[in-house]
Amino acid sequence: MKKKKVTTLTVIAHVVLFLFSLMCLIPFILLVSSSFTNREELVKIGISFFPHEPTVSAYQAVFEHPIRIVRAFGVSIFITVVGTILNLVVCFTAAFALSNHNFVFRRQVSFYFYFTMMFGGGIIPYYMVCTRYLHLSDNILALIIPPIAAPMTIFLMRTYLYDIPYTLHEAAKIDGASEYQVLFHVVLPLARTPLAIIGFNTALGYWNSWYEALLFITDPKLYPLQTLLQNILAYVNMLKNSRFANSKLMENIASIPSTSIIAATCLIAIGPMLLSFLFFQKQFVYGITNGAVKE
């Protein structure tokens, strides 16, 4: 580094990258500061980087009636853990079969998965099938099952498995191992990195998922964090536009969460994911650059 000459280009690069980083960071800083801003200041001055009279009342308010947010946290943690494990098991076993030369139907099954990436019935038929025939309305499974076994993930996993020398597999077969044994004792121990990468991505997806809840969940007890957040927002917005307000909402007007409460809830919700990203950053970046260069 000491030997490197400082050229105009590197200076420009640093400036631009720094500005872009700032642009990525500023909204988060504003979120933090708005969670510490009191209501009067919000109305009078608006959100600024440093609140004049910082207050922790928003956090107090969140933790005073913690039932809703704790419940939502519980739901999010549950679907993230169960969903990630299930997805890894299903995708890993499927990818193992698809990467296996002994699997007679691997072309057909690959196409079977692949086709769904190109064509779908559309969201309305999907919604009909899930609610009418699979009975997923207000069912925690609606939050867990849909993201499982995404063809993209299966193929990504298969790409990683192709990197494991197939001769190991053959050697184990000659020694008389069954396919199950090869899966558990040969491939699984060598596939820890892809499992970690895909696992992290899946967990991120579950933690941030709101789509399934939006479609299928109406019972507030089953709200994951994101949906809780979304509903607080919708609730406040609705009250702000008073033309939408009806008598039923007006009764609860005393309990309107202020902007800072929402901000505080947001921070509580994104905290775990950002922290775990800081831990897994290396694997994550590796996963992108490696997964990008296919075949």
Partner: protein
């Protein structure tokens, strides 16, 4: 145990001769391994496919999809003759086009600049970490962040009003043609520039040194050497993005710009169809639009794949 196992393959081979190959123990085991994924995909992707008949019916929820009246292409006709069609189709394509172009330019530029400062490890780590933050949050939270900037009490709005300009971003539809691409860049550029950066890191750095000795400027190295290295990835990404031009990022439009006042520029196919589910629109027509979207998407993907293989036989989208 080992000895017994060693003999096993031969024994199986003898027994196998009469059985077809797919009945072999190996294949049956592998089929059992792929089965859970096959079932899940069948239930959640293939079952809804016959649901496209909804698009050809005058759907009545109480009668169900089998007994509702069959109306042929009426729903499509109705949709394409309505004012909605022009609006949501042009919005979807224009917005996606803006996303593709701006996203590509910014992420390539970032990747090239990042390559310039690769040796500054500490700064690099900072940039990469911070640029990934937006990628890690959902659109729900992003909407909240956007509000902290341009909402009624947001920093930009209140700064403007202190300067004497009263401007409400959530009342002006046009400005969202600029806001949303910025949001898209903000959320995804950090992620996609890493892909390009990864390609650059994989190139032979001695080439750049050689070019430098021959008198090439840093800018020339970028345009004459590095961008050509990135071209396959650019072509691939553009093709796959263009094949999804009728598919909008539903979360973005739904959470960021969910106001009746903004529909003029931010109503896209996905939000339109979603309103049908919520009961604010016609379900059959929504299904028809969804089918149209899928069908066009299918054709575009097949064409894009053909094109990318034409460009380089090794680069298929699949």
């Amino acid at each position: 145990m080992v000895a017994k196992a060693a003999k096993a393959p031969k024994a199986i081979e003898k027994g196998e001769r009469k059985r077809p190959k797919w009945m072999s123990k190996d294949n049956l085991q592998l089929m059992s391994l792929v089965l859970p994924a096959v079932i899940k995909v069948f239930l959640f992707s293939y079952l809804p496919m016959w649901g496209v008949i909804l698009a050809f019916e005058d759907f009545d929820f109480s009668l169900g999809p089998f007994k509702s009246k069959f109306v042929g292409f009426k729903n499509f006709e109705f949709f394409f003759k309505s004012n909605d069609a022009a609006r949501i189709l042009s919005n979807t394509m224009l917005m996606n086009f803006l996303f593709i172009v701006t996203g590509m330019v910014v992420s390539i530029a970032l990747a090239l600049l990042m390559y310039q400062v690769t040796s500054a490890r500490k700064s690099m780590k900072f940039y990469q970490t911070v640029m990934f933050f937006p990628f890690f949050i959902s659109w729900v939270v992003a909407a909240r962040l956007l509000e902290a900037l341009i909402g009624a009490n947001g920093m930009i709005t209140s700064t403007l009003s202190r300067m004497g300009i009263q401007y409400s971003f959530y009342n002006n539809a046009e400005i969202w043609r600029i806001i949303l691409p910025i949001c898209h860049i903000w959320k995804s550029a950090g992620y996609s520039c890493i892909i390009y950066y990864g390609v650059l890191v994989g190139t032979d750095a001695t080439l750049y040194d050689a070019a430098k000795i021959d008198g090439a400027s840093g800018f020339q190295i970028m345009t004459r050497l590095q961008i050509p290295f990135l071209t396959p990835m650019i072509v691939l990404n553009t093709l796959s993005a263009v094949s999804g031009i009728l598919r909008a990022d539903f979360g973005m439009f739904y959470f960021l710009a969910n106001s009746p006042l903004l529909l003029k520029t931010t109503d896209v196919i996905d939000t339109y169809v979603f309103r049908a589910i919520q009961g604010m629109g016609n379900l059959s027509m929504g299904a028809a639009v969804g089918l149209f979207q899928s069908a066009v998407g299918f054709v575009l993907i097949v064409v894009a794949n053909k094109l990318s293989r034409l460009y380089d036989p090794n680069y298929g989208l699949y």
